[in-house]
Symmetry: C2
Amino acid sequence: MSVDAVLARIDQDLDKSLERLFELLRIPSISTDPAYRDSCRAAADWLAAELTGLGFDASVRPTDGQPMVVAHYPSRDTANDGRVLFYGHYDVQPVDPLELWNTQPFEPAIVTRDDGSKMIVARGAADDKGQLMTFVEAARAWVAETGGLPVPVTILFEGEEESGSPSLAPFLNAHMDELKADAAFVCDTGMWDRQTPAISTSLRGLVTGELTITAADKDLHSGLFGGAARNPNHVLAKILSDLHDDQGRVQIPGFYDGVPEVPAEVKAAWDALDFSDEEFLGQVGLKKPAGEADRSALEQIWARPTAEVNGMIGGYTGAGFKTVIPAQASAKVSFRLVGSQDPAKIVDAFHAFVRERLPADCSVSFTSHGASPALSIPADSPVLQKGREALRAEWDVEPLMIGMGGSIPIVGAFRDKLGMDTLLMGFGLDDDRIHSPNEKYEKTSFHKGIRSWARMLGLLAN
Amino acid sequence: MSVDAVLARIDQDLDKSLERLFELLRIPSISTDPAYRDSCRAAADWLAAELTGLGFDASVRPTDGQPMVVAHYPSRDTANDGRVLFYGHYDVQPVDPLELWNTQPFEPAIVTRDDGSKMIVARGAADDKGQLMTFVEAARAWVAETGGLPVPVTILFEGEEESGSPSLAPFLNAHMDELKADAAFVCDTGMWDRQTPAISTSLRGLVTGELTITAADKDLHSGLFGGAARNPNHVLAKILSDLHDDQGRVQIPGFYDGVPEVPAEVKAAWDALDFSDEEFLGQVGLKKPAGEADRSALEQIWARPTAEVNGMIGGYTGAGFKTVIPAQASAKVSFRLVGSQDPAKIVDAFHAFVRERLPADCSVSFTSHGASPALSIPADSPVLQKGREALRAEWDVEPLMIGMGGSIPIVGAFRDKLGMDTLLMGFGLDDDRIHSPNEKYEKTSFHKGIRSWARMLGLLAN
């Protein structure tokens, strides 16, 4: 059976594939907000039903958080040789600020540009519902055209990727035998540009946490107490300001332990890429790389660690003005990690850094939202070679091997718990506005993404 | 007619006075939040109706913001000699964080302590509804007992004191002849302690404003852009952190121009007061004065200017974590002023201070929420002498002449627009938790406050 018939069916059924994606996009499965718990469950149910319809042995598995979807084809007790595991996440980021959306985030729309190109606009369109559905639809085409899949496949969809994947490690520990495969695929990454597909061979790690500074035991009136009472907004601002020096270097002692310099040959390859700092930043209204002064933007996002204040709040922030000295102020801080930076050591060093800066009458509390180390994929991995071949065939261009600024905790878990390498192959674009208002996924990404996975499944059988 | 009969009636009718105060406290007249506009109007209507019932020529006057209440007794075209103007404000601060209230903020309650003392708990109980009602109830007792007031009285209640009084200056300009009087009374200040009344003879000024830092034109994903994209949270934290040096001194150039040293004799009088930094700060869970390192807490709050971050917000601040680099971050900043510090110059210097610190790719916008200079009341003012006499008679102790850390814009407006001195006589206590959850007003303050004003009205007729 040639893959051509499968590809033809994909082209023919594209509108139906889009309809199914829209059904999934309409479910507001925001995992970070407890108010959307039922929606997360609904998204899991929807996926399990779809996979069951394709002949998978699929089920929704409860966790302490959002449920997992696990599906095997054929069922796990047979035909394990050459089995691959596909991972995606059905949860999405919150949608605020809602007023910046041009359409409703959970009412997906196809928007056609002046040049005729089309994009799918909705929260989750690119991250990760559109991407995970490329694999599901590729599987559907194989089943429809040939009555089955060319290799045994297990699918794992989680619903907590956007909230630090707290249930993932326990779940993998409890189901190691069931989930173990020859290799894992993750479709949550991007292309180099509209024409050039890419495989991400390195990923930054991520540490996320929250700190709250407390001074007085109640909010105070700044007329009565202003000047004499400690203001936690000032304390927090000073601590956050101290995180970087004026060259953009992180000032936490030991922070750069384990951060490697980019090897000369890799740096040469990156320098050869058609990448412009101005163009990359220009797409979001910026011009000048803001990180370490002596590094390019590409190096800053692929190969350098960061300390980032993702949220801060203290005192009165509503309409008008309130002359309050608040009792508390807090911030959400994340660190992107590279090389062999140790997440646990970073957390400890950060806490010590904060505590050393606490003035009289202040206390601090910390909450962790997860921690994962940086990762890289061996260049000689067999699935990496097949991935390159599938992409080359579909896109008619040599795919690029790139670094990745984001973090995908599952890749570390697959390596540590199941001893698997992971192929990071995805079809997002830099301007997809993931985590932002008006998130979109190119219709081309969806269509050729499905075709790429169909080719990959065919190659794996050889 | 002796004042004794009036005082006796006040004692006798105290429960009814409390009932009327409760009616006013039940109206959620939060002026800073547009959602409560109708409630502000309702509070104004309620007050005008009460004053009409006492024989005042009372009316609610529209402004561009919340309405004013103006009432004359007798009507303004007669008996102007010796007329006094009483000012109060019916608007209240927002109530958040609501979860820290032990009772509902707009369901007033009398709470009895173990020692039998009672307090009135509600938003606005002390600031300023409880205080303004001390004057209304004193007037009521005079009218009930003697058929009229001993001196002509005009009352002005505004509804924007908690939001910078934007309509006040235009209103005074438009009604100068109607509102001009021999002297003004404001009941929005505090006692020295539970036993010792006080008259505030100096007030800090107040400048309030908001700044918003903008970097990218949309929220960004910190995986894709982190390290290369400017984070406005970092920029804002740095600017706010730069406001003070490590000795607590404000670093804005020219900020201390016009700040006088406290005269030796005044400082000696303050030193003689029974004031302990530890006790003052201890009531709110603090220990060490946080302002300029070489000043006492009393000097810090009565005689020194401040720069205070009353609110700040940027990025994701909801439940869980979102790895966002926000497009914007903003802060509400206020300055308390003393001596002859010029509010306009402070605003300009602050804006320049912020602009100088803006890195590449950032812009800033400013919003003003009002500005008023510091003020002091001449020691030889006749109403000041009568106020001391009234307080001495009621409380049986020598009242103290003190400084005040807060700001009451009306006092400056009365001086500048109407050429009047203002007597600042009020019955609040430091632990009244104004602007905070569980705001309260002592029942004793309410009762003896009414009696104090009744005495004052009697003295003014002599």
